[in-house]
Amino acid sequence: MRNADEVSEATWQEGTELPSRTLPAITRTALALYAGGSGDHNPLHIDLDFARNVAKMDDVIGHGMLTMALIGRYLTELVPQRAVRSYSLRFIGMSKVGDRLECTGRVTKLLEKDGQRCAEVELEAKRQGGETLATGTAVVAIGAT
């Protein structure tokens, strides 16, 4: 398991690419668990009959917030959660069953926030094949434990 020690002081320079990570495929079980754990019971994510007959889609789609949670986990495996000052995401594509998210991050800016040295990190998740599902930004405090 990665931990904060893997991101050394030298990482915090504009343009540094953070270690990328490809996550296990999104399964129907994962969507069901996420519906239960998150409290988001929108049938579009868990009920194939609803997806096909009501929403007129081929299959269920993944929760956007599951994508955000997975990228969040990627981020907090690089820096401790306590270091994360803000985290935002734009949803671009819908995740599907079987998608394996490739998460990447890049340091885009160093800044100071409330007297604390911080880095702005650009985040992206693509599905296999390269289509972008989400892009976002996090501000993380440097040296927080």
Partner: protein
């Protein structure tokens, strides 16, 4: 009704009790296996008051437990027509199991695109400690509604 007319509307406030069992299920659902998120002693050893809520858990807290899609009623759109466009969080104090969170929600912005075919609603949420009134975090979510007919095209 033009999306703009919804700006400034307050949605109902409510409290949400953060429970260990739900945090553990949430952790499982997002593939989170680190002890810090599952084991109370490990969380305390890491300096948390109890199991910490992962960074996106406030979205869950922000859904009204009595009526999880009441936000959509407030903007007069059905579930099948909405997409989640954007989401952001700003963090002040970690939310942990045992916390009672007071959630306040307001429609802070709204606009239309493509001649009214799409309506965008920006919901601002604040999360504070219901006991001490200290702010935990804040969030903004952009909900996109696909309108069946372009009203103003």
């Amino acid at each position: 009704m033009n999306a703009k007319e919804y700006v400034g509307r307050q949605l109902s406030s409510f409290t949400f009790d953060v429970e260990r069992s739900q945090l553990r299920l949430f952790a499982k659902a997002i593939g989170e296996t680190r002890n810090l998120y599952l084991d109370v002693d490990a969380a305390k050893a890491a300096g948390y008051r109890d199991l910490p809520a992962p960074p996106t858990f406030p979205f869950t807290i922000g859904m009204n437990p009595d009526d999880q899609f009441d936000m959509l009623k407030a903007i007069d759109v059905e579930l099948a027509r909405v997409l989640h466009g954007e989401q952001s969080f700003e963090y002040f104090i970690p939310i942990c199991a045992g916390d009672r969170v007071l959630v306040k929600r307001e429609i802070v912005d709204a606009y239309e695109k493509r001649g009214g075919a799409l309506s965008f609603f920006v919901i601002g949420l604040t999360y504070e400690d219901a006991r001490s009134a200290q702010p935990f975090c804040s969030a903004r979510q952009v909900v996109v509604a696909r309108n069946p007919v372009a009203k103003n095209a």
